[in-house]
Amino acid sequence: MSAAGKKPIRIALAGNANVGKSVVFNYLTGLHQHIGNWPGKTVEKAEGTLHFRGHTIDILDLPGIYSLSAFSIEERVSREYIAIEKPDLVINVVDASALERNLFFTLQLLELETPMIVALNQMDVAKGKGITIDVPKLQESLGVPVVPTVATKGVGLSKLLGKALKVARTKKPAKPLKYGREIEERIRKVTKLVEKIPIKYPPRWVAIKLLEGDEEIKKIVTRANPKITHIAEKHAKELERIHGERCSTTITSERYCVANNMARRSQRIAPAKKPTLTEKLDAVATHPAMGYPILFGIIFLMLFVVFTVGGHLSGFFEDAMEPIKGAFGGSAGELIGEGLLGGLIAGIAIVLPFILPFYLILILLEDSGYLPRAAFMMDNFMHKMGIHGKAFIPFILGYGCNVPACLGCRIMETERERTIAAFVVTLVPCAAVTVVVLGLVGAYVGIHWALALYALNLVIIFILGRIAFKALPGEPMSLIMEMPPYRRPHARTVLKETWMKAKDFVYIAFPLIIIGSVVLTGLKVGGLLEPIGNALSPITVGWLGLPAIAGVLLIFGVLRKELTLVMLATLMGTSNFGAVLTPTQMIVFAIVVMYYIPCIATIAALVKELGWKKAAYITVFEIAFALMLGGIAFRLLTLL
């Protein structure tokens, strides 16, 4: 029988963050991979295929998580996949240098009663820390095969695959651990009840989750039989009385207790003689006096590289494409040349030059372990605008370009945190806005007015961020994150991830940018710009006190904000803006441009990260807010 005739074997990779899971994934699948989103969720889904000993294996890389409580979207996605889609095998990638914490997650995977093997990864790091692990002993206590690996060097991975095939064929489900007597008794009672209702998760696991008070599982069970939820709650209350703490805490503690025992029995740790490299680096990188200059240096370097490299490449592309664009004559030709191709060029000129270097640097920083340190240093500052330290990176990037900044908001764990961060980021004036503010207000009204606008912007970000923090439902989440040891980034993984992420963005943003460009050119060719400008004049002229032409400019600004200035020069026939606009008009115009709408590429990024609905809310809010602020500024400034 040929490999093609057999059904592919489905394997899922699961494990904590920073254990080298993506290195394993990349090593196994090479370039045969595809990164997308989980249906209806903004969680990354990475899939790949590989051929091994005549078998076709589909590998899915689950997000890096610490637990299977429904704390984050990633955790929910992972447990749903394992329990409901039932892969043939789960490979649990475990960091040998932090065995106890990793085994805690392993124990939870065992509870899902899925066929499973453990890849004991980063054996080299563990060795460096003076940790030796007795693999047979660990295997015995876990009851599933354990294969030691060093994924960055490819060590042990083919043995891992061999074991994986064997276990996947037998489909022998793993055996979950036993809890203390009083808990076990209640789990058994609830399990018996759960077995009677149709549910896709393993009954024992459901029983444990009910005792833990897992909201989602409660909902599912209540739908089938509300009595069971009730009884489980009663049992949980009893356990709470016995242990004097939340039932979920008790169960978590028990799991950790088992993990601790297993780790202690199977590993030997030689006492550390000298401080590790991480400790030495951290002493400098998070030092109160030296840490901040280093942080700002790195940020500056990052922005510098992204925008000089990006700027050069971008200009180069546009120049190279210009002759092609002009080659089409007539109004239909203009539609193709300026609309379709113009949009495509704008896309290429933004995406490739800016997004690629940005992703490369971001992934480098992430992979090396510096990003968490930056978040650690800036947590307090970011707190003032309603988000925690991790949002600092997207925030700073926003000053360059909102697009990568919005995409960067993915590092926030919960939907709530992500939404606030993305909202705040779209309020940050990007480089294109800076062009407008400096080109108009800075050049003709005075640089202090331009700086005042930036100061005002920061104040507004703080206020709106706080409001979003208060208004959004859900529990606000403080900073809780792992500080992984520093590592030399793994070149292959970094490059591949950069490429995959950029590709993913192209699929989302390009259609929107091109359609937007074609529509705008269509309006221009069809002679509709003036009527639209006139139709908008009650707002632009009446409320904002701007010339009628402003309506058209603002519409073009949706595509790229610096176009407002370029178009102003074209339509007015002069680049001496002092002759056509009053200082008040310039300030009002700059304010509106600063806030009025995220550009179309940013909207695309918002859609990708938050979904259509939230992207629409943010867009509409910002238009309304910009108009309100502009109108108020107009009235105040005329009073002066």
């Binding site: 914490r101 978590t252 503690s253 900073l479 792992e482 500080m483």
Partner: protein, 205 residues
């Protein structure tokens, strides 16, 4: 049926244990301000009823059964104390009244009152005074987690990352300007926002 005096004794012995003192006839007598002779008799009675275990030369220790009651009463005492002083009762009468009320309130009522007064003081009653929030530890110092008083999601997240009651944590460093804390737990390093860290209570080592 447990008498008030049984509860009073178990509470006193629990309190002694919390301070690290041995429960001997003398120390219990001093704690309760009664004659040593009656203490001896009572301790014998409580040992017979399996609330206490008697070890020669070491005085008595609480059995799990006895500990549960002692802890509960002490907790109620502290809740009532806090409640009464919040109500504006003069200090001199707070202790005496709490001593009386502690025997008469149900667990539910105690919980309800606790919820009300907790918002004013993050340190829940029933927790030894030697417990401090994690933010109170100096850099490089260790502590054992006694409990976490954060919201459900946050406590679960902390527990998932290994911060469960009874675990040893070390504060590696705290960021300046009231920033987050870097802590070491179960062989891994975590950063925890200051607000959340102040809800993690530890017994300093």
């Amino acid at each position: 049926m447990i008498t008030e005096s049984t509860e009073e004794y178990l509470e006193a012995i629990y309190r002694l244990g919390e301070r690290g003192e041995a429960a001997t006839t003398t120390s219990v007598a001093k704690e309760l301000k009664v004659a040593p002779a009656s203490v001896t008799q009572m301790l014998k009675k409580l040992t017979k009823r399996r609330y206490l275990k008697y070890t020669p030369y070491h005085g008595v220790t609480l059995t799990p059964k006895g500990e549960k009651i002692g802890k509960e009463i002490l907790r109620k005492h502290r809740v009532m104390q806090k409640f009464l002083s919040t109500m504006g009762l003069p200090k001199s009468r707070v202790h005496k009244n709490a001593c009386e009320l502690e025997h008469h309130i149900s667990n539910d009522l105690e919980q309800a009152i606790y919820q009300k007064v907790e918002s004013e003081r993050p340190l829940p009653p029933g927790v030894p005074k030697s417990v401090t929030p994690l933010t109170g530890l100096l850099d490089g110092r260790k502590g054992i987690i006694s409990h976490i008083s954060g919201g459900r999601g946050a406590s679960q997240r902390l527990a998932d990352l290994g911060l469960t009651p009874g675990t040893e944590v070390m504060v590696v460093k705290s960021a300046i300007f009231h920033g987050p804390l870097m802590v070491c737990v179960r062989g891994t390093t975590l950063a925890i926002g200051r607000g959340l860290a102040s809800k993690i209570f530890v017994r300093a080592r």
